[in-house]
């Protein structure tokens, strides 16, 4: 019986009931990410053992999907909607503004892992365009100036909640 670290044992418990050749890999990765916020190298190994797959196979699947992370999530994850309806409403300018204020590029976190912008995909709420999801919360009818107000609050060290409040305040006040 090999020695198990506590973390390994925890991950194994999380995967209880999942078995090889039973279409369970995505479910396993979802469970790990839900619990830890990302899929670590250790988790990939444990998932592979549980499902009878090489770690490389699990790694291949993990990195294939946009939703699975291999690094801990940042404090603020901005999923910028890349859909067509948002694009018609000039969402590209909003992305450029966010990138400029936060000094990051789409898909690349800042060195301190405080924030990250990812591509969000259209879920059919186009009446709210242009939109984004900030830590899974819907932020609707964004304008460049409001995006900048939000991002500046983040860059100045505000929490996600505080930055969203700044955004909402800019909505109520008409303009920031």
């Amino acid at each position: 019986m090999p020695l198990e670290t506590e973390a390994t044992a925890q991950i194994r418990a999380l995967l209880d009931g999942l078995k090889p050749n039973d279409a369970d890999l995505l479910e396993a990765l979802h469970r790990v990410q839900h619990r830890y916020g990302y899929v670590s190298a250790e988790a990939m190994r444990v998932v592979g053992e549980q499902l009878g797959l090489a770690t490389a196979h699990v790694y291949g699947a993990t990195t294939y999907y946009a939703d699975f992370r291999t690094t801990p999530p940042p404090q603020t994850l901005i999923a910028w909607c890349a859909g067509a309806a948002c694009r018609l409403k000039r969402s590209d300018g909003i992305l450029r503004a966010l990138e400029a204020v936060l000094d990051i590029r789409l898909g690349e976190p800042d060195p301190q892992h405080r924030y990250e912008i990812t591509r969000g995909q259209c879920n059919g709420t186009c009446e709210l365009a242009p939109m984004a999801w900030v830590n899974e919360r819907v932020v609707a009818r964004i304008t460049p100036a409001r995006a900048i107000t939000f991002a500046r609050a983040l860059a100045a060290g505000a929490s996600t909640e505080e930055a969203l409040t700044a955004f909402e305040h800019s909505l109520e006040g008409g303009n920031p």
Binding site: N21, A23, D24, L25, L26, E27, L29, H30, L51, H57, G60, A61, T63, Y64, Y65, A66, D67, F68, W80, A82, G83, A84, A85, R87, L88, R90, D92, G93, I94, L95, R96, A97, E99, A100, R105, L106, G107, E108, R119, Q121, C122, N123, G124, T125, C126, E127, L128, A129, M131, V138, A140, T143, P144, A145, A147, I148, T149, A151, N175, P176
Partner: protein, 646 residues
Amino acid sequence: MTTEASSAADSFAELRARSEADWESWQRPIRPRIDIALDTSSISAGAGPVRDAIERESRARTAAVDLGRMVGVGLQWLNPVVAITWPDGTRVLYGPVKPEHAGALLDEATGRVGAAAAITIGTLAGSRPGVPRVFDHPFFSNEVGRRLLARIGYTDPESLEHYVATGGYSAVQRMLTRHQGPEAIRQAMLDAGLTGRGGAYFPAGTKWTFLATAANPERYLVCNADEGDPGAWVNRIILEGDPHLLVEGMIIAAAATGARHGFIYIRAEYPLAQARVKQAIEQATAAGFLGTGVFGSEMDITLEVIRGAGAYVCGEETGLISSVQDGRGMPRVKPPFPAAAGVFMKPTNVNNVETYSTAPLILRNGSEWYRQVGTERNSGTKIFSFSGDIERIGFTELPWGVPLPSVLEACGGMSGGMPLKAIQAGGPLAGYLPARLLSELTLERETFVPHGALVGSGGIVFIGTDTCSVDINATFADFLEDESCGRCTTCHGGNQRMTEIFRRIQLAGGRREDRHNLELVGNTLQYSNCVHGQASPTIMRNTLRFFSDEYEAHVHNGTCEALRCTGFSRYRVVDQTDPRLPRAQAICPTEAITEDAEGYRILDERCIRCGACEELAPRGIALEAAPAGTPVPRERAYGSPGGRQR
């Protein structure tokens, strides 16, 4: 009838009687009930805080009112919506509702009718003087009676009883107890003319026969609920609003094909749909509709939900299958088709949500009934979702063949009276057609095909004249590159090249040979293994054919009429007297606005063309065409290169 079958029939009759009583009391409640629409659109628009506010206010008043649940009926620009049902059966829809309307809604519910007049949309049941019927709204003018959406707005989406009370599971119960054979079921689908609603429109009955006649008796069903086309959300409406319809449809497909297990693959972006379908499966299992010996028959069928994790190409059936069976969603070359080698290399039938969900309607009402609407070549109805630069964004269920001008009219026309420029139907693989073809187009594949486009899966985006075709191409090429699985060099390389070329053109770097190279890339892409690569050049080809002048203006004249492309536009201070210029200067994220003795000035080489300054000082700052050679910060011109090919 066997003993098991007769006792199953008795218990179904009992459930049905109980359900009918339950639904009757929901339609005519003892005291008024306020149903809050809880679907993704309504929740995104703020249904949660609305529910909390109504709950709080109701408790504070100790009002004799109950709260319930529903889903929105399609008028998404009026979200979030709620409906009040009174003891006499009158049901009225309200929206857009804000938390501060809680008091007015409670007044209205408890008898001060008219208190919420400002947000009254119309009646869903019964009548009220001066209040129109919801379905008389012009947005629904092309509908001919709801079939797939019949329960939307009229039941609690989480209630098995409401589904059963409205005829649910009666088709499958009758099918199994009367020993309607698999051939008869498949024939009914063929007679009805049901075709695959995912966009390929292959006859469902024929596909089911492939599976039914497969040599291996271990067979699977797969439901493709990986609805990834931007602007299409027709499957979500069924998954969130009437999940048992899909479950019943898959039981019918299982009976018709001999499959004993089904996977419902739902995309990651639809967590509520995943939860509702899981719950429906649990309810159906507890009721004996799923499991072993369903309805007392000899048939076994189980269903499970697979949660996707964000990959567009998993909507391609072989990509979806490889994603289900433990791995990356890598499509592969066909044949072998899934009917021969699908999940775990076993015979498999893959259909879209709407295709399975139509089966119960056909079995219950007959093929003749199904064909009563639609056209000669395309029978029945389909759900469509409408978005883009239109006044009314939402979904409706329409018969095939509705002229597109009527559709646009129902959508309230273009927002702010902006002229229509293009129609983008069916997602990034299906096409991009000019406004001048509008009068030739109907909601039928056959009217799109001669122009090199498709209707696709049901999302229709109307695009106004302030959008640039080159920008549209750069956007979709970038999407297709990002979502390529990376297996075929033609696809990942081709889409990379297409993205690079369009981005370079956007930065005023277009070259004479670009058109030729784009055509070359298009020809190469079509040799990809799956439809993702094969159809990737569709929008580009449509553009070069129908928007040739606009394309050439970018490459040869150095102009972007819509002023969308960063290489052809710049912001300029046009009125130094605008008192909001200091705020515009302060908001600029790149310090591109300077002030000197002559006033404010915008430095092109710093300006990222985000538009924040014009938003704050619309009189003082304007977007205008940039003369040749105007600098633009290239490194900030786009988002990252992206790409799934790791």
